[in-house]
Symmetry: C2
């Protein structure tokens, strides 16, 4: 860890003073930021309302590797000139821009996009210029139709070709000058439609030459640089596909023992990897695995005092045995951890650690760096408080301490420590109680070295704060999903998350339960509630997770009435779970996750659409993966040749009664004709139904899984 | 006109290369742009989604003099700290910021505002800082409630006061230190609620001191500068009230003669001012009054050739007698014009001229400055075309000519010429066919010298182009109103114009007719159509206008079926109008405009709300001027003590049949209780009705005015 530290520290300190914009490559039109010649009038096109963008380009938008990033903008110019628009894009490490066309959608909206095949920040710029040759061609067509004498006009077109030739390289110049010459030699009167009379001295025709699309494109590539308008530069941060699509599973290693007589260890977790792989898990998230403080340790169910054998909360990090880079001795050793990470990788499972940036009073840093904490007038360190509530087992950091640089770098080094041991996924505990600039800096630093790393923000707080953390760089975010039960709430919330500009930067990760969240619905809804919430999470969200084995074993008893805490919470106690219980939902979880993997439509959230059902207890929605030009949908899987995939989900939100109703599918959204029959394949039961047209009947019994 | 020209030209040229941001004054918190000390961690609050703003601050928002400019922003910080937010604002010419509080609206939205009493650009900035003293007070209240020992906490509060004292001036410092001392001497245990025990050695009480609002405000004024976040600086352009509220009237001076045997003159227009004042007109807009070209002059109804006595289109500007700064000899002299402007001013009427930046082939500039126009390969100047249509009587300027600086400055000088003769209002002809950068520059130049000048954009084109012209600085814009007939179209369009961010910069000016626009509705709706469209324009829009006397005299015959051109259009012919005709709507126009002047609710568009009617042929809406704290409504009249004013409008959109229905008023919007009775005063008939609750019956007969 100490290797290279001074150099890294210097670099980080420099960054802390304000990151410079990355240098941008030169482009095929204009170097971005190039000023037109002062002698020329300012360029006339206007570019605005670019998407994706986050706060006017202040933060990068998000995409996953392999995505096609759809880009849109308003582009227009005064008068009646035709416009030419291009999209320039480049990976931050590239020295030159790639170029993609933009096409007009109507109402001055233009669209294009680019595929992303590398991790890290990409930049894009939109450039627009009047296209006088295209305007000339449009007008010429109208002139031919009324039999105008074109002698003058053909010379105008020739002059435009000659001007483009001056700006072109040798080969293109020759082609353009040849075409110009042909126009200058052509007769002054053409016939409509497009004249086919042979060009004097050539083997083409006048009309064929004038309306040749390759010629038009050749001219378009060499606009007058004085007339080119450039948008600002926007960034898109490309992350692994796991940032967009994955199934998470949280478990407490100390409860992973198969032997009820002893607590679990990292080795026990390793032994459980086969089970998790069978469930279809992609990310195994472990609560903090570090030594736990003894001072003011919490007892069972969060009692203010602990007995001698109570293990304490894993979030009270740090003891004599070490702090954020140590493994709790009861769980094993760093070598055990390394073995777990390697074994998990063999199962295709990433191990995620918890970044809980706080200390128990026994954390080594409390003695080594008292200046990293807040103090009372009597010199004692302030524990966490939400007056009158006290959390005496937790010392928060003082992120504004005069020694903030040392503290921030030490925390960065914690992340680097675990990355060096193979951890690429971090769940960040309560990021909203640490400064925003800290996260922006930390994530930028880590991503600069390791663009493959993923951060999940565990912030259950006000919407704008959650959104801001996502803007700062968190790859994924916990959501309000657990508390959205009614159809209207689910529709409203997931429409906001997937259909507004929030989708450009905020990736939801849906959890029906967590160790802190046992909702009323799960407490009182029985198995049907667990089934419904699993299906909703797994299909509304490309990323979702469960806290197990509590989830698949239907754990549902609260600490007391009105509480969302589990009775006998694993946060404060060692639990033992019988994975073999016949009522386990493990097979259902496995089946749902197999369906997720098999269906690319479920690998992203951008195509989520709700469909009407005439029963408020039934919710219906679809996700699609169609073979067509992408309309603006935010980042989405790239449109390589593929099979179209359509998934329709109907869920009974009533956990106690059979519900039925007429589903009113928007068949256009599904790529289906308005009235033909189509086969519906029930992926859970493997049954098949023939449906016809938009209106079809559904009946769902909560007692039948 | 030549006086000072060289200096102006230099200044303008400099501006053309890119306007520098105006210098900003120092503020009570931080100089904007000041960097916190490098040694401190970055400030933690976040400020975003500021309104009003146009394209992220790229363009100024709009307000009228006397308005209260409501300002809103998202402001939040990590954790649980209380925040303090201030709004700093200043006229561009002021050397220091004024300060206004922002209050929390909930969901991290904050609101404040500032009154504007001077023309020209104003700037505002939002600053936010954690307020540790407020957080401490909040926590202390909770601690007192559970009887904590407060000795330590009172010392913490004292330290916060002492820190603020270090940043305060001498007087405030003394007050803060005195309070700090009292806290340090206070007993360590207070009673809940607020302790009233006398402070040792003082005559106040501990609780009284701690929770004194003035003390809190005193601390709030001296935050740690390292912790202050500043938004970017936003601009609000303040224009005369006439930019927000006014009645316009367009007439052709050559048709203003009371004597059918001769064309009208400017002197005839002067003689008609009494009539216009009676109608309640604020702005008299004249189509171009300049010499008209003879080459390719258009004949009656736009015929391609003119007879010897045909007067031609006023928009074919320029002849031997002069160009854009000359008066057509048939209309009179510059002295006549001056007299008209002066006489109009005595009637409270502003004379508006037409800025039609194009030339007839006979314009002096065609000979003097051929380089300002486009040329064909044969050297001839290009006339206006929309192939295959030709407009041979019009030469457009080439705004991109290498001599663009000279051209642009010459056009600016045209505007200055008329301003110097007392013209403060300009209607700009087809601004969307000239470059956007030209308008942004020209309006900025003019407004810099004459912030009282108003520009109306006559751009009937695509929505984004019309919006962009408004962003660039046009005070007002023509709209699609003339073609919005159905209830749903009117509701949708005016909701967009008044309730979205478009309202921050786009001020609609509503015209039921113009010399170019005789809608189907007016052609075939009879007098009821004229009445309905008048009432809609005058009440949906704080600014509206009519083209008269065609409007009040019900002129409705089109040139041919399917055309929106008038038969015998005044654009190409002299007309005579009998103002005394018994069917003239002049008295109705006068009455409507009196109602407009009497009712401040009709002086702005920001409170426009539509109400439901169970009949699609009846439209109902309201405007209000209530005595309350302003919610964010865009610029609006300042909230001085005043009478509340509520106007409800119900219009029958069916010009042929009686229509009736139940109006469903949103009484909360009107400031009325949900069920009580209230008096409705019919301002057109002076009848009075008692209504009760939200549901009331309305019956409107198009035959009865």
């Amino acid at each position: 860890m100490a290797v290279g530290r001074p150099a890294r520290a210097r670099q980080a300190s420099r960054e802390l003073d304000g990151a410079a914009a990355p240098p941008l490559p030169a482009g095929p039109w204009l170097e971005v930021g190039d000023r037109p010649r002062a002698a020329a009038a300012p360029p006339r096109p206007v570019i605005g309302a670019v998407r994706p963008q986050v706060d006017g380009g202040r933060y990068p938008a998000k995409a996953a590797i392999g995505d096609f990033v759809a880009v849109e903008a308003d582009v227009f110019v005064d008068g009646h000139d035709e416009l030419s628009c291009v999209l320039l894009y480049a990976h931050a490490a590239e020295r030159s821009w790639s170029r993609a066309p933009l096409r007009a959608l109507g109402n001055d909206r233009w669209q294009g996009g680019f595929p992303v095949h590398a991790l890290g920040d990409h930049h894009f710029v939109i450039q627009a210029a009047p296209d006088p040759f295209a305007s000339w061609r449009r007008d010429l067509r109208a002139r031919v139709a009324v039999h105008e004498d074109l002698s003058g006009e053909l010379a105008v077109g020739a002059a435009l070709l000659e001007e483009a030739a001056e700006r072109a390289g040798a080969t293109e110049r020759a082609l353009l000058l040849e075409a110009a010459g042909a126009l200058r030699r052509a007769p002054g009167r053409l016939r409509a439609p497009v004249d086919a009379s042979p060009l004097p001295g050539g083997d083409g025709t006048v009309g064929g030459l004038v309306f040749d699309e390759l010629l038009a494109e050749l001219v378009r590539r060499h606009p007058d640089p004085d007339q080119v308008t450039s948008s600002q530069t926007f960034a898109v941060r490309v992350e692994p596909e796991l940032a967009r699509f994955g199934t998470w599973y949280e478990l407490f290693p100390r409860s992973a023992s198969p032997d009820p007589s002893r607590p679990g260890t990292l080795a026990d977790v390793e032994a459980r990897l086969g089970y998790l792989a069978h469930l279809g898990i992609d990310v195994l998230y472990l609560p903090p695995i570090h030594p736990i403080g003894r001072t003011h340790r919490k007892g069972p169910d969060g009692a203010p005092t602990a007995g001698p054998d109570d293990p304490g909360s894993p979030w009270a990090i740090g003891a004599d045995e070490g702090g954020h880079t140590a493994v709790h001795p009861d769980l094993g050793t760093l070598a055990d951890f390394d073995r777990l990470v390697a074994a998990a990788a063999e199962h295709g499972i990433a191990v995620a650690l918890d970044l809980a940036f706080q200390c128990s009073p026994d954390h080594p840093w409390v003695r080594q760096h008292p200046e990293w904490f807040r103090h009372r007038p009597d010199g004692s360190i302030r524990y966490a408080e939400n007056p009158p509530k006290k959390y005496e087992d937790i010392y928060p950091f003082d992120f504004d301490t005069p020694a903030w640089r040392d503290l921030w770098l030490a925390l960065l080094d914690v992340v680097r420590f675990w990355i060096d041991r193979g951890v690429k996924v971090f769940r960040v505990d309560n990021p909203h109680t640490k400064p925003f600039p800290f996260w922006e800096w930390l994530i930028r630093e880590v991503k600069g070295e390791h663009p493959e790393v993923i951060f999940l923000a565990e912030a259950f707080t006000r919407p704008k704060v959650m959104q801001h953390l996502a803007k700062l760089g968190f790859s994924q975010s916990y959501t309000y999903f657990a508390w959205r039960s009614a159809k209207w709430e689910l529709e409203q919330y997931f429409t906001e998350l997937t259909r507004t500009e929030v989708a450009d930067y905020f990736r939801p990760n849906l959890w029906p339960n967590t160790p802190d969240i046992l909702t009323d619905e799960l407490q009182f809804g029985g198995t049907p509630a667990f089934v419904a919430r699993l299906v909703l999470a797994a299909t509304l969200g490309a990323s979702y997770g469960i806290y197990g084995p509590a989830f698949e074993l239907g754990e549902h008893v609260a600490r007391e009435a009105g509480s969302e805490e589990y009775r006998g919470s694993e946060k404060y106690a060692v639990r033992h779970w019988d994975l073999e219980r016949p009522d386990s939902l493990a097979e259902l979880v496995a089946r749902v996750n197999r369906i997720r993997r098999d269906h690319p439509a479920l690998h992203h959230d951008s195509t989520l659409r709700f469909h009407h059902v005439d029963n408020d207890q039934l919710i219906a929605y679809s996700k699609t993966h169609l073979v067509e030009e992408p309309r603006y949908l935010g980042p989405q899987p790239a449109h390589e040749p593929r099979e179209p995939d359509v998934v329709v989900v109907v869920v009974n939100l009533d956990h106690h009664h059979v519900q039925s109703g007429w589903v009113d599918l928007d068949l256009g959204v599904l790529g289906l004709p308005p009235d033909g029959p189509y086969l519906m394949h029930d992926l859970l039961t493997d049954a098949r139904f023939e449906w016809r047209g938009p209106h079809n009947f559904v009946r769902l019994d909560p007692a039948v899984v």
